[in-house]
C-alpha cells in the first residue's frame, strides 16, 4: 500500500528529472541521421538574356558546398543536401539575383526565407520551391561625365558675365538713345544708383512716419516739395 502511494511520486519526480535532462540537451545540434534531401527551384529567364544564359548560370549552396545547374527550362534540383540551414544564391556574370535562405528540418520539411545576415533568426518566408527573379543587369560601370554646352551656359559665373554684357549691348539698340527724354530717364536712373543719399532720408522718414504717426504726412509733402526746387534750376 505504501509502495503504491510512493510510485506515483517517484514517477512524477523521474519524469521531471527526465524533462530537465531533455531541456539541457541542445536542440539545435544536427542529429546523427545521414538522410539527404533536395532543394528545388526555378530561375526565371531575365529579360534581355541571350541563349547561353543557362549554361553560364549555376546555383551555389553555402558558397559552393553543393552546386546546382539549370535545365533548359530554368528549373534546378540540388540533391544530397543534409538537413540544416543554407544560403542559396544564383550566380550569373551579367544579372543580379537575390539570395535566399533554405531551412531543411531533419524530417525533410523545407522552407525558404529571405536572407537576413544581421538577424539570422528573422523569418520572412518566400515561396518554396524557390523562384528566382532577376533584379536586372548588374551595373558594373560608371557613366562618363559628358560635356554638354548647357553645362557651360548655365554656369552662374558665365551667366553673370554674359547676360549683363548682352544687356549693355542690346538694350541701347532697343531704346532710341537719340531721344532726349529717354536720355534724361537714363540719367536719372543712373543718379538713383550713384546718389543713394536721396533714398536714405526717405527710409528714415517712412519709418518715423509709421512709428510717429502724423508728421508722416508733413514729411511726405516736404519730400514731394524738395525735388521741385532742384528742377527749377
Amino acid at each position: 500500500m505504501h509502495l503504491n502511494k510512493m510510485t506515483p511520486d517517484f514517477l512524477i519526480l523521474s519524469l521531471i528529472f527526465a524533462l530537465l535532462r531533455g531541456i539541457g540537451a541542445n536542440p539545435e545540434e544536427e542529429g546523427n541521421d545521414k538522410s539527404l534531401f533536395k532543394i528545388e527551384g526555378k530561375v526565371l529567364a531575365p529579360q534581355s538574356a541571350d541563349q547561353d544564359w543557362i549554361s553560364s548560370t549555376k546555383i551555389l549552396v553555402d558558397g559552393g558546398a553543393n552546386i546546382g545547374f539549370l535545365k533548359s527550362d530554368g528549373t534546378f534540383v540540388i540533391n544530397n543536401v543534409p538537413s540544416g540551414s543554407y544560403i542559396v544564391e544564383v550566380v550569373n556574370p551579367t544579372f543580379v539575383f537575390e539570395p535566399y535562405r533554405v531551412d531543411i528540418t531533419s524530417k525533410g520539411k523545407t522552407r525558404g526565407r529571405k536572407l537576413n545576415n544581421l538577424q539570422p533568426s528573422a523569418v520572412q518566408t518566400v515561396t518554396y520551391p524557390l523562384k528566382f527573379k532577376s533584379r536586372g543587369k548588374a551595373e558594373y560601370f560608371q557613366r562618363r561625365e559628358e560635356w554638354r554646352i548647357s553645362d557651360l551656359l548655365f554656369n552662374p559665373m558665365v551667366m553673370m558675365m554674359i547676360v549683363p554684357c548682352l544687356m549693355f549691348l542690346v538694350l541701347p539698340k532697343l531704346m532710341n538713345t537719340a531721344d532726349p527724354e529717354t536720355q534724361k530717364e537714363m540719367q536719372q536712373s543712373m543718379n538713383m544708383f550713384t546718389n543713394p543719399k536721396q533714398n536714405m532720408p526717405d527710409i528714415s522718414e517712412t519709418l518715423t512716419s509709421w512709428l510717429g504717426g502724423n508728421p508722416a504726412a508733413g514729411n511726405a509733402g516736404r519730400k514731394a516739395a524738395k525735388p521741385r526746387p532742384l528742377k527749377k534750376k
Binding site: 505504501h2 510512493m6 511520486d9 517517484f10 519526480l13 523521474s14 521531471i16 528529472f17 530537465l20 535532462r21 531541456i23 539541457g24 540537451a25 544581421l118 538577424q119 534724361k184 530717364e185 536719372q188 536712373s189 538713383m192 536721396q198 533714398n199 526717405d202 527710409i203 517712412t206 519730400k223 514731394a224 525735388p227 528742377k231
Partner: protein, 239 residues
Amino acid sequence: MPKFCSVLAACNALIVFVGLILFSTQVAGDDEYYDTLSSLNLEHTFDSGLNPVYSRRGVISIHSITSNNADIDQEDSHTPQDITKLKALVKSNGMYRVRIMSRPATASSPAQYVQSFTPACGLYESSLSDHIEIHLDASGNLIGMSIDSISPHCTGIQPPSRQMQEFNSTVDLIQTTSGPFPETSTYVQKIEQERQEKMKGGQVDNRSFIAKYWMYIVPLVIIMMFANTADPNQGGGGR
C-alpha cells in the same frame, strides 16, 4: 514502513538533485574556464650554444587566471657559478633561456616545453629583475611564455655581485580572449528606434506659413518699400 518511505524519498531527492547538477553543467558547460594548472615548474639555463642543460629555477603558482593572480617562488634558483656563466654570456652577447613543461611525457611522445629567451646583458644589468608572461588558452592550458628584463637596452654597466643574490620577478597571466564579432543587436535596435520615430514624427511640421518663411518674406518687403519710395519720386520728378 516509514523508514522505507523516507529512504525512497531520499532517493528521489538525490535523483532530482543529481539531475539538476547535470542540467546546469550541460547548459553552462561551454563557457567555463577551468583552472587546470595550479603550479608550473620554471627552468632556466646559463649555457650558450647547442644542447644546454636546464636547471630548476622556481615554481609559479597560479591562484586565479581571471584576476591575473599568480606568484613565483624562486629560492635557490641559482649558484655563484651560474653568475660567472651569466657574465660570460654577457661578454659573448648570448641569450638567457627559460622553459616550462606544457605537456608531460607520455608513452608515445616526449615531454613538450614552451620556451623563451632574453638577451643576457639585460638580465645582468637589471640585477636579475625580470618580467615573465604566461600565456594560457581558453581552457587554461599553457601555450607560451615570454621573459623580459627590466632594463630596456644594454648600456654596459656592471652592477655589484651582492645584488645578484636572487631573482626579482613579476608574473603576468594572459588568457586567450574572445575574438571580435559583429555588433548586430545594437544596430538593429537603433534602426528600429529610428523607424518608429519616423513613423511618429512625420507630420509635426504644422507651423504656420509665415513662421516657416518669415526669413524670406521680411527682406522682400523692405526691398519693395525702397522701390515704392524711390519710384514715385523719380516718376514725379521725371515729368
